[in-house]
Point group: C2
DNA sequence: ATCACTTTTGCAATCGATTGCAAAGAAGCG
DNA sequence: CGCTTCTTTGCAATCGATTGCAAAAGTGAT
């Protein structure tokens, strides 16, 4: 920057202001400076800028999946969400720093800001860390989380309305005149529990649950196979906590020649591509990841600017398809 | 840091060295400093550190898909790759800055380093930007790209052996005694072209290609439907350029009651989860994303340290499944 | 030409670390 | 005890911007 200043014959301060398009600088001067800067292809040094401004225009993204093996992001849903968050941030000239859960957690979340040099954090999935997040909020670190709502959250959580999603599925099963629905999914996973509860609420009674240990295709397939082979009566409708689990169930049913949807109607959750691509196409509950990304970012920016932001419950809708 | 120095009764320089675990500092002093630093939960300011060190320990990840609508990362393969790159970098204490293609390209790739403050760049997919990348390499910016090999690349590209992948598929079709194979995929997409060429090489003659405009499920499904309805003779083996396209083809075949694999054997590419979950399970060519991530990172680190690194061709293998 | 304003520019401090070099302290040896 | 050598520590410059405040230049009215 010194060089540019010398070349143009002004001071460093003037160059800095010109590059920021400050109204303090005369248009003519500004033009001259920008000209020279461009032709010498100079760009401001981000590190120096960050230091001086005490702000990095970068936010940290922490994806935490204690439930997934080896921290692999298998679920396409999260991928979509991620991409949309990145886009929403890019639109605001902010960058995304991907913090692996290991490294993020190593220094403790409260150090993440100074440590990684980010202005705020987006947590995807708060599952096991609720109390830590509460503490974080107390310290005043700007962050938002994607996940399920809970009354005792003193921080901003954005999530889709899992209760509503469950209810929509119940409505569909009722419309299809199903009598004996079953829920497929793990217990203790807060978002999935809410889907199940929403269903029960709307259905008017508790729902039988085929419990599985994780969210994977194979686990669900095996669980459903075991159920089918156990001789228990077949439900006439199955609500799976996610599309991946639904696909597992569908695979099992095909293997045992259960007609879908004739013998058993199936609903998934997430509207992942594979749900659409399956034949018969899987009925599922859609979460609007584009909106989700936009809202997460908007709230976080609010918070960074010092204005508290309330949690948001995003709408969901049922995509009726063949199953 | 000044505060910590005062608290311990040493100079700032000593604190800085102690925190870096420098051998210059006596163990006893070091311990005292670390103690105080921790109890005051002090962490070094990343921005200042970056500025002084002229290094950020952060690499930029640019995912560029001119071919995908709205910059959506629909393909699970890239998601996997991404996760594995992040893990490989985390293992080396490096962070990942996700650069959206828009913002990355806006300032021009050559400014990405200073502009975003990253030490190097990983490009996923070089498709349209070959000449820009050549220029980048000339300027001496450290980067690696994931993609297809080409002779005129003066930069380090890591990619899987698409030619080999194509050959493996040809071998399988021959083993299955198929006579009239067809290739499904777009033309002009360098990696997919290589897959097709590898097939033709091994098969011993060119292969008929059902050309599609993009990589999507629907486009492939529709193309295959149109083919089936056109009355042309059905191929007895179909090699799709990606799993997603293969799934589209399978959907079309199911709709027209073509028996797979009896009437037509099908191979995909990528080993995406949906390939495994489909029934019948899709035969596909696996790319080892974990290895890919590790190699990309290792090469980039090499280059950042000033040692040139050669391109790498990663092995692939065929996963034989029902189709 | 002087004065009061307004518009532009520059000076110099500052952000928070890292590091070369010199100095202080400790240890070893004759 | 004096001298050399090695181990520890501190001083102060430096990385490359941003910004409050003061100074200079320009404008217009008297």
């Amino acid at each position: 920057m010194d060089d540019i200043a010398r070349l143009v014959g002004v001071s460093k301060a003037t160059v800095s202001r010109a590059l920021q398009d400050s109204p303090l600088i005369a248009d003519e001067t500004k033009k001259r400076i920008l000209e020279v800067a461009r032709s010498n292809n100079y760009v401001v040094n981000r590190s120096a800028q960050n230091l001086r401004r005490r702000r990095t225009d970068t936010i940290g993204l922490v994806i935490d999946f204690p439930s997934l093996p080896e921290h692999r992001l298998s679920d396409p849903f999260h991928f979509e969400l991620l991409g949309n968050i990145a886009n929403a941030l890019a639109a605001r000239q902010q960058d995304v720093l991907w913090c692996s859960p290991q490294s993020a957690h190593a220094g403790g979340f409260e150090n993440l800001l100074a440590n990684k040099g980010v202005d705020g954090i987006i947590f995807i999935g708060q599952s096991g860390h609720h109390s830590e997040l509460r503490a974080l909020a107390k310290v005043g670190i700007p962050f938002v989380v994607w996940g399920a709502h809970r009354d005792d959250a003193n921080y901003c959580v954005v999530g889709s309305d899992n209760l509503l999603g469950g209810r929509l599925v119940a409505q569909r099963f009722r419309k299809l005149k199903r009598k004996r629905p079953m829920f497929l999914g793990p217990k203790g996973h807060i978002e999935i529990d809410q889907r199940c509860n929403g269903f029960a609420q709307e259905w008017g009674s508790t729902i039988e649950q085929l419990e599985v240990a994780d969210l994977s295709f194979m686990t669900s397939r095996n669980a459903v196979l075991a159920w089918l082979d156990s001789g228990k009566t077949l439900p006439d409708a199955l609500f799976a906590g996610s599309d991946t689990m639904a696909m597992g169930a569908l695979a099992a049913m095909r293997e045992r020649n259960i007609e879908v949807p004739a013998a058993c109607s199936v609903c998934g959750y997430d509207d992942s591509p594979s749900a659409l691509h399956h034949s018969p196409a899987l009925t599922t509950v859609r979460q609007d990841t584009r909106l989700a990304g936009a809202v997460l970012v908007e709230r976080l920016v609010q918070i960074i600017q010092g204005n508290p932001a309330a949690s948001v419950l995003l709408p969901t809708d049922l995509i009726e398809r063949a199953t």
